[in-house]
């Protein structure tokens, strides 16, 4: 027996968030890389047209294949989102292991490797959504890993495929390679200089999109942006990955040059905003998630620019996840009202920073 059906997400909370745990990152601007493949099993209705019977048949077929191929290692965790509490579901979302669509599906399942790098969503929009997430810029490594999982599962499951259209998916926007490659970037300087709209425009011409994480439209919380490919038909997987990689390199370069300019020409403004943000996190008693993410972003920028003597980037990374509504409620071991969340968020941030005061 290699699979553990989990009744909650406590197993995840006891381990660090691996996609944020990048000690050897070459650039602090890229937080994480993610590759997703959509697959459907030949002969079965896609989830939008399926019923409970077909969905549970798909779930059983996938589980058998995952067990036989050991694609998630000898032991892995399984979650059934419909039987989890709201806080547990939010934890899966905040740890980027599940999509919000998966959490709303009745017959959905999620299998996660013990290191949380690999996940398989079952009965989301497609029968299978394979996902590999890595810290920093590691798109090629993500692709290599997901390709191995895909090959192994394809040896046990006959996937819906067409010679002209490639892998067939429930939404035609994914057809072809059915590959969605993305990187999460921290772009505070570009946001301060109002360059995100320009970036959006430039990327649209290349068939790429940039969107804020947890924000609406191009707005973002914590200056975190996800850049991903839009087109999946007409280009091979390696072509998609290398194009996105080249674009991300340019975005990093642009963000770095803007940071350098800010340091040179508007040093006091920068020090002021970083210092105020640190003060907000260190001394607040009520902290909304928006305030927390935006202040953490500025403190992270300060750490990147060497403005703090001893504040570890890892603490800032940890807090980015810990201030999420799901994580807060799991830590409090009960449901919290919005006001309670704000108070508890402020408390854990204060305490974490007090222990590691850089001053």
């Amino acid at each position: 027996m290699s699979e553990f059906e989990m009744e909650n997400t406590d197993c995840l909370l006891s381990s660090p968030v691996n996609f944020l745990d990048d000690q050897n990152s070459t650039s602090p601007i890229v937080i994480s890389s993610r590759v997703r493949l959509a697959r459907n099993i030949k002969g079965m209705p896609f989830p939008p047209a399926g019923d409970i019977c077909s969905a549970s048949e798909v779930a059983a077929m996938v589980k058998e294949a995952v067990d036989l191929c050991k694609v998630l290692g000898d032991e892995y965790w399984s979650f059934t989102p419909s039987s989890l509490s709201m806080a547990d579901r939010l934890v899966l979302l905040e740890r980027r292991l599940a999509s919000s669509e998966l959490l709303q599906s009745v017959e959905a399942h999620l299998h996660v490797s013990r290191d949380s790098h690999k996940a398989i969503m079952v009965n989301e929009e497609d029968h299978l959504r394979l996902q590999v997430v890595m810290p920093g810029l590691q798109l090629k490594k993500c692709w290599e890993d997901i390709n191995v999982i895909d090959d192994a599962l394809s040896s046990k499951l006959d996937m819906a495929y067409d010679g002209t259209l490639g892998y067939l998916t429930a939404c035609p926007s994914n057809v072809g390679t059915a590959l969605r490659v993305s990187a999460m970037l921290h772009l505070p300087a570009m946001n301060m200089e109002k360059s995100i709209v320009q970036l959006e425009r430039a990327l649209a011409k290349l068939g790429l999109t940039v969107r804020g994480i947890s924000g609406e439209g191009s707005e973002s919380l914590g200056n975190l942006y996800q850049i991903s490919n839009q087109s999946t038909l007409g280009e091979g997987e390696t072509e998609i990955i290398s194009q996105l990689g080249r674009v991300i390199d340019q975005v990093i370069e642009h963000e770095e040059s803007l940071r350098a300019k800010l340091m040179e020409h508007r040093r006091n403004n920068l020090l002021d905003v970083v210092g105020r943000s640190y003060g907000l996190l260190r001394y607040s008693y009520l902290l909304t998630s928006r305030e927390a993410y935006n202040a953490l972003s500025m403190v992270r920028l300060g750490v990147d620019l060497g403005l703090f003597n001893s504040l570890d980037i890892q603490i800032v990374n940890e807090l980015f996840v810990a201030v999420g509504t799901g994580h807060l409620q799991k830590l409090a071991m009960r449901e919290l009202s919005e006001r309670e969340q704000n108070a508890f968020r402020a408390q854990i941030v204060r305490e974490r920073l007090k222990k590691n005061s850089p001053l």
């Binding site: 047209a49 939404c171 035609p172 072809g176 011409k205």
Partner: protein
């Protein structure tokens, strides 16, 4: 093309509205499309946008359907019973066979969504390998052909055109053989 409302962002969404029986076509960026959605009270959520694309590529104008519901014919997938109206409202398909059933609605939408019209890339191991490889080659040749035409290199374009036609015929032949083999 720039968004027709803000004139700043790249237009990534094509919207068709019918006001007083007259069709109005607009190219918008995502934020202006979302703002318009709020104004009009029409749901242009991410999947409904896909639905709009299909409607645009369909042969029947929307107002004709509204005015003459009794004459309305709807495509239905015999395999999964997915209906054209479900495709339009959700932007999703019900099964692999839907791609054949709704191909007339999908072709234009796919062109708008993607950089190419043929799959180039990975194939399931051991399945349809030969045909898949030919399609990859076809897509490469078509790309080169477009490039040659753009560069006004008509001599090379003529050679490439012949190669494309030849390969297309071979693909169709093999595809027919595979289908009859499966039956």
């Amino acid at each position: 093309m720039l968004c027709e409302i803000c004139n700043k962002n790249e237009a990534t969404i094509h919207i068709q509205e019918i006001v007083g029986g007259k069709k109005k076509s607009m190219h918008l960026c995502s934020s202006c499309a979302a703002a318009r959605q709020k104004e009009s009270g029409i749901d242009f959520g991410p999947f409904h946008l896909a639905g709009l694309l299909y409607k645009l590529s369909g042969n029947q104008p929307a107002e004709q359907n509204e005015n003459t519901p009794e004459n309305k014919t709807e495509l239905v997938c015999p395999q999964c019973s997915w209906r054209e109206s479900q495709l339009n409202s959700s932007g999703r398909l019900g099964c692999e066979n839907c791609y054949k059933v709704f191909s007339s609605l999908l072709n234009d939408a796919l062109k708008k969504m993607h950089h190419g019209s043929s799959h180039v890339g990975k194939q399931p191991s051991g399945k349809g390998t030969e045909l898949g490889a030919w399609h990859c080659e076809l897509a490469r040749l078509q790309k080169r052909l477009q490039q040659a035409i753009a560069e006004e290199n008509y001599e090379e374009a003529a050679i490439l055109r012949d190669k494309v036609n030849d390969l297309k015929a071979r693909c169709e032949k093999l595809s027919r053989q595979t289908e009859s083999g499966n039956e």
